[in-house]
Each structure stands twice: as structure tokens, then as C-alpha cells.
């Protein structure tokens, strides 16, 4: 699965709202253990095809991301 991770819960929630408004399906999940070295909190899980567009949209909305789309197995 593909995820984008955020600095805090507020960033994750804001990202979820912004992406849903743009028609991108996301689901907030706990940050997968493999990634939790960077920070704790929430990640947005999304389809591989949507990652590029999602990162562009979030960057334009000044939502800081820790991992700008990473595949977790």
C-alpha cells in the first residue's frame, strides 16, 4: 500500500479534507510500524495512481509531509 505521512494529527486531518474535496480517496491509518522511526501519528493511505497528484495538491496547500508517498509492504 501507498501512504503519505504527516508531522501531526492536525496536518493529517487537514490533508484528508483537502484531498477528499479534490476527489482523491484517502483513509487515515496509524503510521505503519516500518515508518514510525520518523514520527508517530497518522498516515493517509491512498491508491498508487493518486500519490503524485495528492502530493502536488498538498504542497500547494502548504501541508507539510514527512514522507511524500512511500510504498509499505
Amino acid at each position: 500500500m501507498w501512504v503519505i505521512t504527516f508531522l501531526s494529527v492536525f496536518h493529517a486531518l487537514r490533508a484528508e479534507k483537502i484531498l477528499q474535496k479534490q476527489g482523491i480517496d484517502v483513509k487515515l491509518i496509524p503510521i505503519p510500524r516500518q515508518l514510525s522511526g520518523s514520527c508517530e501519528g497518522l498516515a493517509a493511505q491512498l491508491a498508487a495512481d493518486d500519490v503524485k497528484r495528492a502530493v502536488t495538491i498538498l504542497t500547494a496547500n502548504r501541508i507539510e509531509m514527512v514522507r511524500q508517498g512511500v510504498e509499505v509492504k
Partner: protein, 383 residues
């Protein structure tokens, strides 16, 4: 029923939705926002985020996450001043400031920050040219109260903002008396830092407030602690809003504040402002007719908010305020209103004034009762 004319201190009553939103959260959700990954915590976080988004809409802020919550406007102003200024920096404030800005400013002066207080005219208005003259090469910040809590005088913040932007000076606005009543647009008015309180014009409960910080400006926090983010790191995160929000938030209060702001956005600022102006006009014109009466602040209704301060010859404002409550159940506030600078400016030291501040829920008939009450009191007791 009491007649409540102390909305400049705390607005009352609140919209019904404020009470129900807080009650609903306390009974049904109650969890900590921003912590953990449970659905309960997420529900709290989502509600807190919603209040940020509503405030962002009201103040025309592009990124709601640049808003951090504080206890009140006083904490927000302390953060802005103490979290940015360093010894050797020059700070400019006006002669109409409330203690919330003036006291930390004077405290900083003892620590090596240079302070200029630009005088205002007898109606409390700042002349931007005087402010321009006070600017020095080391001027770091201009701090200005948008509307006076003593006279209601509205300062020309867009002009000041433009001047500050040109000179690359940070512009801090204290919106205690204006948020929820006057249009505030942080971009158009070039506001770098906006301090607001939740319990006045924004119609939220006491214990809520916040600070907007423009992207690119970093504020040193007044306190460090748990933020729910970067939990493994012993250092405070530097991202907004987490860096300024250590410890569990006043979640029920913030949710109540959100309901207040939603009410304001639904009514529209213009409607709120118009109603308050009508009440202010009634007070202003009728009070002026009472013998021995001085009413302070601008006569132009467009230059003031719904704060009407008055004094009566040979009468103590506190005495008037007491009579109004005891004999007529009218709640007002008398004295210096935590703003000695403003009273110095309008010439009402040391006695101060009696202040009437109606709100959106005040009716015209209530104002009639108050005017008659003041007339009777002055007739009876004025020597």
C-alpha cells in the same frame, strides 16, 4: 431579567449552538485531540480543526494550521511580543493600548527592548503619519489595538499594515474588540500576527483565544511540553500549530468557539455590525442630552464599535455603575478598563469612565431602559 451591557468584557448570552456544542462534546466524545489514533481522539481533533478552519474563513487566513489556540488574547499577545523581540529591537505601540499589550511591552523595556508609545488624539485615533515618524532602523514590530475597549475607536489598521509591510516591520494586531464585528483580512490588511480572544465578539466561552502567525515567521514558545507529535524527540517541534500548543487544549471551549464563529459567519458581519451601530447611535445621541454628561470617542458611527464610555460631572463612574445594577439590574463596567494609557489619552484619569457595551443580542428597548435609568440617576445624585 438583567440587562447586560458589558459585552466588551465578555459577550453574553451566547448563541444557543455554543452551549449545545460544548455539552454534546463533553457528554459524548470527551477525548484528547491530537493524541493517539483512536476514533475518539480523531473525533476531538476533527472538531478542533473545524474551529481553526472557521476562524481562517472569518479572518481570510489561507492556512488554518497557522492558527494556534491560547487561553485568551493576553496569552497570544505575550507570545507574539516575548516570542519574537530580542534586546536591541524597537517596538512601537499606540497610546490606546490595553494592558494585555502595554504591560508585556513595558516589561520587555526593562529587558533591553526599546519602546515607543505613539500618542493618539482626544477621540483615541492614531495618525499614521505620527506612527511613520516613530519608525527607526531597528524597529522590529508595531503592535496595535484594532478597536479601543474604552472609546470604541477603530484604528486604520490597513494603512498601518501597508506601511509596516513597506518598511519590513512585523505588524501585530490585537483584535480583542474587533474580531466578530469588524472585517479582518490578514492578507489585505497586511497583518503578520493576529491575536484574538474567543469570549467577546467571537461569541465563544471564556478561556479561549488564539494567535495567527504568517508563514515564514517563527515564534519562540512560552511553554514546552506534550504536543502529540514528534513524541520521541526531546525537543519541542517547530511546526505550527504544535509548537505553540503544548499540553491538552481547552477542547470543549474551542468547540464552543467554533459554534460561535459559525453563528457569526451565518449571520454575516455586516448584519451584526449594523445592529450594534443602531444601538450605539441610540446611546450616543440620547446620553449627550443629559446635563453634566461627557460621552467619549468618535462621533462618527463608522469610526467606532459598540463601546460607549461616559462620565458625569461630580459623579464617580463606579457609583453610577453600582446604582445601575442595584436599582435597574443593568450590568456595566466602570473604572479604567485595564487601559490607563487610553484614559490618559482621552483625559479621564484617575476616575475613568462608565462603559456601556451592547452586543448582538441586546435589543433597542433595553437601550431605552438604560438611557432612562442613567437620566434618573444623574438627576437624583449629581451635586
Amino acid at each position: 431579567m438583567k440587562i447586560y451591557l458589558d459585552n466588551a468584557a465578555t459577550s453574553w448570552p451566547k448563541p444557543e449552538a455554543v452551549y449545545t456544542a460544548m455539552d454534546c462534546f463533553q457528554r459524548n466524545i470527551g477525548a484528547n485531540p491530537g493524541r493517539g489514533v483512536t476514533q475518539s481522539s480523531l473525533a476531538s481533533s476533527a472538531l478542533v480543526l473545524e474551529t481553526r478552519e472557521l476562524l481562517a474563513e472569518l479572518f481570510h487566513i489561507n492556512d488554518p494550521l497557522r492558527i494556534a489556540f491560547t487561553l485568551n488574547v493576553t496569552e497570544a499577545l505575550n507570545l507574539a511580543l516575548k516570542g519574537i523581540l530580542l534586546p536591541g529591537d524597537h517596538l512601537i505601540i499606540s497610546g490606546m493600548e490595553h494592558a494585555a499589550l502595554a504591560r508585556p511591552a513595558f516589561a520587555l523595556r526593562k529587558q533591553g527592548i526599546e519602546l515607543a508609545v505613539v500618542p493618539c488624539d482626544a477621540e483615541g485615533l492614531l495618525d499614521v503619519r505620527d506612527l511613520a515618524k516613530a519608525i527607526r532602523p531597528n524597529t522590529k514590530m508595531v503592535g496595535l489595538l484594532h478597536a479601543s475597549n474604552v472609546t470604541g475607536t477603530i484604528q486604520p489598521i490597513a494603512e498601518v499594515g501597508k506601511l509596516c509591510r513597506e518598511k519590513e516591520i512585523l505588524f501585530l494586531v490585537d483584535s480583542a474588540q474587533s474580531a466578530g464585528v469588524l472585517p479582518i483580512d490578514v492578507n489585505r490588511q497586511c497583518i503578520d500576527i493576529l491575536a484574538f480572544t474567543g469570549h467577546k465578539g467571537l461569541l465563544g466561552p471564556q478561556g479561549t483565544g488564539g494567535i495567527y502567525v504568517r508563514p515564514g515567521i517563527a515564534i519562540r514558545p512560552l511553554k514546552e511540553g506534550g504536543t502529540g507529535s514528534w513524541a520521541r524527540n526531546m525537543e519541542q517541534p517547530d511546526i505550527m500549530p504544535d509548537c505553540l500548543e503544548s499540553g491538552t487544549l481547552n477542547t470543549p471551549g474551542i468547540i464552543g468557539l467554533g459554534a460561535g464563529v459559525r453563528f457569526i459567519l451565518a449571520q454575516g458581519l455586516e448584519r451584526i455590525r449594523l445592529h450594534e451601530q443602531q444601538l450605539t447611535a441610540l446611546l450616543w445621541h440620547n446620553l449627550k442630552k443629559i446635563p453634566g454628561m461627557t460621552v467619549y470617542g468618535p462621533s462618527d458611527l463608522n469610526g467606532r464599535t459598540a463601546v460607549v464610555s461616559f462620565a458625569v460631572d461630580n459623579m464617580d463612574p463606579n457609583q453610577i455603575s453600582s446604582f445601575l445594577e442595584m436599582d435597574y439590574r443593568v450590568v456595566t463596567r466602570a473604572g479604567l478598563h485595564c487601559a490607563p494609557l487610553a484614559h490618559q489619552t482621552i483625559g479621564t484619569l484617575p476616575g475613568g469612565t462608565c462603559r456601556l457595551s451592547p452586543g448582538f443580542f441586546t435589543g433597542g428597548r433595553e437601550i431605552d431602559v438604560v438611557i432612562q435609568a442613567i437620566e434618573e440617576i444623574t438627576r437624583k445624585y449629581r451635586r
